[in-house]
């Protein structure tokens, strides 16, 4: 028997790859409907409110895309690392560091023309996020310290560090609220007001789409992407083929950190226009779910992020229009994530049964030879 690894042949995969997430979503919708029935709500009514709140008007669509923008970046951040076999849970911290860096440069650097200023802010934010991720990457590559632990710890450090920095008089706007001065107008990312007058959707969304395409090109068309994936799938064979595992792991973490940092700059330059403490939480973690739902494919991440954005904006509408608390929307999001995770479990079931059988025989395999 062949070892069971997820495998595909040519075109057949592209279609069958889409099917499982769709099934997960349908199942999640069904379970959510049951929950709504249990709390005495009409699932069809709630569903239609969610739909109109997320896609029903230009305003709703703008809201959805605005919520989706940082998720596209953080989803890509997780996906790139996963392609290289690393689990980057540090998107949160890398984002907040990037956000603070963007605010710093946005506030303090003046006298530049808008294009330059925005570009500098975003680059600095990306580099700050990359640097933050590099700490975990280097610890992993040099000392084998597990990246999950390190990135989680670095999340706390990032939050506490920025909470402190924002209180320094050099940054802090006078007043009760711990927030920085407003960024210079030249550093602001223009909002896409032609869609809807009061939207906070901004050019950052376009940048996110560019990032999706760039990540796709890097992964599929370049030497670097080839090496990243090779290391992710089989580090031993990569090493034996002369590919540096350490180097690629560090690069994958840095790219992810850069993307998360960009997410932070989009929030600061395009939405809030200042850095506030504590910084809005959750985009980094949601990025993990986005990457999983999008199956680590850049375009999948784009779709998944928009889907999560729709849940958020639709959820807000439900909150306004009905008696259903907003928390229930969070529950629905969680159900979706659960079903996506389950799908991975089900895929491995075949293997599990085999292991179970061997256990029943009271036998244990030494070495990993496969039968015919």
């Amino acid at each position: 028997m062949k070892p069971r690894v997820p495998m595909k042949t040519g075109v057949e995969s592209k279609l069958s790859g889409l099917l499982p997430p769709l099934v997960s979503l349908l199942l999640a919708a069904a379970v959510s409907a049951v929950i709504l029935l249990l709390v005495g709500e009409n699932p069809f009514h709630i569903g239609s409110v969610m739909l109109s709140g997320s896609l029903g008007s230009l305003r709703s669509i703008a809201n959805t895309l605005e919520e989706a923008t940082p998720l596209i970046f953080t989803g890509l951040c997780v996906a790139v690392a996963l392609k290289c076999g690393l689990f980057n849970i540090g998107g949160e911290g890398q984002l907040v560091i990037g956000a603070f860096a963007a605010a710093w440069v946005g506030v303090k650097l003046t006298g530049l023309d808008p294009v330059t200023h925005v570009t500098v802010c975003i680059l600095i934010a990306g580099l700050a996020g990359a640097l933050w991720a590099l700490i975990a990457g280097v610890l992993k590559a040099r000392f084998g310290a597990h990246e999950v632990i390190n990135t989680i710890m670095l999340n706390y450090i990032a939050f506490i560090l920025t909470n402190y920095l924002v209180t320094l008089p050099y940054f802090k706007k006078p007043g009760q609220i711990p927030q920085t001065f407003d960024i210079a107008p030249s550093a602001a990312l223009p909002r896409l007001s032609f869609l809807y007058q009061y939207t906070r959707l901004n050019i950052g969304f376009v940048l996110a789409i560019v990032a999706v395409i760039l990540v796709y090109v890097i992964l599929e068309k370049t030497r670097l992407g080839f090496e990243l994936k090779s290391v992710g799938f089989n580090p031993t064979a990569s090493r034996a083929s002369g590919i540096s595992v350490v180097r690629n792991m560090v690069i994958a973490m840095a790219i992810g950190g850069f993307l998360a940092g960009m997410a932070g700059s989009e929030r600061v330059l395009g939405v809030h226009r200042y850095f506030i403490s504590p910084f809005p939480f959750g985009y980094g973690f949601a990025g993990i779910a986005v990457a999983l739902l999008g199956r680590n494919n850049p375009f999948g991440v784009l779709l998944a992020a928009i889907f999560f954005g729709a849940l958020a904006s639709g959820g807000a509408q439900v909150d306004i229009e009905t008696h259903v608390p907003r928390e229930l929307v969070t529950v629905i999001q969680a159900i979706v994530i659960l079903f996506v995770a389950c799908e991975y479990l089900v895929r491995r079931m075949g293997l599990m049964q085999l292991v179970d059988l061997m256990r029943r025989m009271g036998l244990r395999r030494r070495g990993a030879g496969a039968h015919e």
């Binding site: 028997m1 062949k2 070892p3 690894v5 997820p6 495998m7 595909k8 042949t9 040519g10 068309k221 370049t222 030497r223 670097l224 080839f226 090496e227 994936k229 090779s230 799938f233 089989n234 031993t236 064979a237 990569s238 090493r239 034996a240 083929s241 002369g242 590919i243 540096s244 059988l357 029943r360 025989m361 009271g362 036998l363 244990r364 395999r365 030494r366 070495g367 990993a368 030879g369 496969a370 039968h371 015919e372």
Partner: protein, 529 residues
């Protein structure tokens, strides 16, 4: 038909009476088993007599293991049935051969390294005294078995400290302890030295004289001729024929197995030595725990020769391979490649300088299973000018060279987009060989290059190695397959416990002599470096 002695005949009669009235212990009738992409067994029928050694031969993928898994109860057939002692085999979920007197010994042993031999033998059916293990009863039963069948194992040593031959005896004792009347052995000689093989065969004879039936799966046809009474040939899931070994010979069996006649490959035995390609001087390698995995290894590979390194698995071959390709740093010694000191060079530097390697474990080290065939064909070569610029891969030239390699090396299926994990073992090996040999390397290091391959694929890979040497390149062949070493190499060395014990011209050594060196009994003849 062999003539039976009166004594063994009567014993066999007793058993038959005890077990079943017919002369067959297992009757397989029209078994068919399909897997998603292949039919593993197609209408297979087969009768196995009481007390015979029945060999089952066939190439990889011929369906031998599937058939045995069906007999043992690990796999359920789609149609057909199996009669065990005249009664249909239960098809329920929990059926396992061992509960019905069928024992299976896998190619990869299933033993617990930290337990002693005795503990492994009784594991799962330990005799008890109350809640305690009744060691005394267990030991005396096992000792009786050892005496009866002439097998010797130190029962109190841990499995990790035993040789492969001893581990195999523990496996045999384990099924005997569970009173298996039918013993299935999957390629039992693959990991043994010639001496160990001989002792296994005498054990098999004793067992079959004692009325036990043995089903023996193998690639090696000389062994069939030596030990089996009946042989069944499987090809592509179908039974090609069942016959007494007295009515056939190895060459004819090979033809039946492959479906065409086989050409044999051999190296040039007495080739003149060219200049050195690789010189290894006094290499030692320390494990983390401090003991030495390699000790003072020295040899030279010249242009135009195949240097064969024989040895039982686990005597330092893998470590030597890792040191040579730059995956491990030797604690002492020097590696010189084409006149340059490469002791501390990275793997990429070595590959660039003209080394190529075929690793022993193709799945772990040679391929990325989730990558397509064409991606695997450029793995490690993706930075070459032909395949990539500074940043981007050159998709078109990658596609073109994949098509070319598929044709030149006859890789099946000829689909460059298929995942490497879906290829058969032989075709996976062809992908690696194609990639490495088309580098046009000055030195090819091939570690167990034909392990697990069927005859056809193995001969093809061997032919490629010989061609490299004929083209004036150096080839280092590390292999546990003695006859492969003997037919291909110009010079032969043996690895034993991390040392090279003697390197000799291949024409001056015999298989027996090598076997003794592999077992650490003799030091070999004069050295010729």
């Amino acid at each position: 038909m062999r003539v039976l002695t009166v004594a063994s005949f009567s014993r066999r009669c007793d058993l038959s009476l005890a077990e079943a009235p017919t002369g067959f212990v297992i009757q397989v009738e029209g078994i068919t088993k399909r897997f998603p992409r292949v039919i593993a067994n197609r209408d297979v029928s087969l009768d196995i007599r009481y007390g015979e050694v029945h060999a089952l031969v066939g190439e990889n993928g011929a369906g031998k293991s599937t058939l045995m898994n069906i007999l043992y109860g690990l796999t359920r057939p789609d149609s057909g049935k199996v009669l065990l002692r005249g009664k249909p085999l239960p098809v329920s979920e929990g059926f396992l051969g061992i509960n019905h007197g069928i024992g299976m010994i896998h190619q990869h042993f299933m033993l617990i390294g930290q337990f002693t031999a005795l503990e492994n033998i009784v594991l799962g059916s330990e005799p008890r005294k109350g809640v305690f293990l009744d060691t005394g009863t267990a030991r005396s039963r096992v000792e009786n078995l050892m005496r009866e069948y002439g097998m010797e194992v130190d029962l109190d040593r841990k499995i990790d400290d035993l040789s492969v031959g001893e581990e195999q005896r523990v496996e045999i004792l384990k099924v005997l302890y569970r009173d298996a009347r039918i013993i299935i052995m999957d390629e039992p000689t693959a990991v043994l030295t010639p001496q160990e093989t001989r002792s296994l065969f005498s054990t098999l004879k004793t067992l079959s004289d004692g009325g036990r039936t043995i089903i023996f799966i193998t690639h090696k046809l000389e062994e069939v001729m030596e030990v089996a009474r009946t042989v069944t040939v499987l090809r592509a899931g179908e039974v090609i024929g069942t016959m007494p070994v007295t009515e056939t010979d190895a060459a004819r069996l090979a033809e039946l197995m492959v479906g065409r006649s086989i050409e044999t490959v051999s190296g040039r035995k007495a080739g003149s030595q060219g200049e050195p390609v690789l010189a290894v001087e006094n290499i030692s390698l320390k494990a983390r725990k401090g003991h030495e995995l390699l000790t003072d290894v020295s040899f030279t590979v010249h242009r135009g020769e195949i240097l064969g390194i024989a040895g039982v698995d686990g005597n330092g071959q893998d470590e030597l391979f890792e040191v040579l390709v730059g995956l491990a740093q030797p604690s002492r010694g020097r590696v010189e490649f084409l006149g340059r000191d490469m002791t501390h060079a990275s793997t990429r530097q070595r590959l660039r300088a003209g080394m190529a390697h075929i690793p022993a474990d193709r799945i772990r080290m040679g391929l990325v299973l989730q990558f397509s065939m064409k991606e695997n064909l450029i793995l490690g070569r993706h930075t070459e000018e032909a395949y990539a610029g500074r940043v981007f891969l050159k998709q078109r030239s990658i596609d073109e060279s994949a098509e070319r390699m598929i044709k030149d090396y006859e890789i099946e299926p000829a689909d460059p987009e298929i995942d490497a994990g879906l290829l058969s073992g032989g075709n996976q090996q062809k992908v690696i060989a194609a990639r490495e040999i088309s580098r046009n390397p000055e030195l090819l290091i091939a570690s167990q290059p034909t392990r697990g391959l069927d005859i056809g694929a193995a001969q093809r890979v061997r032919g490629l190695l010989v061609k490299q040497a004929e083209a004036g390149k150096g080839v280092l062949l590390i292999s546990a397959d003695l006859s492969e070493i003997m037919t291909l190499s110009d010079r032969v060395g043996v690895m034993y416990r991390g040392r090279i014990v003697g390197i000799m011209p291949a024409l001056e050594v015999t298989e027996e002599g090598l076997g003794l060196m592999m077992a650490g009994v003799s030091q070999g003849g004069r050295e010729s470096r």
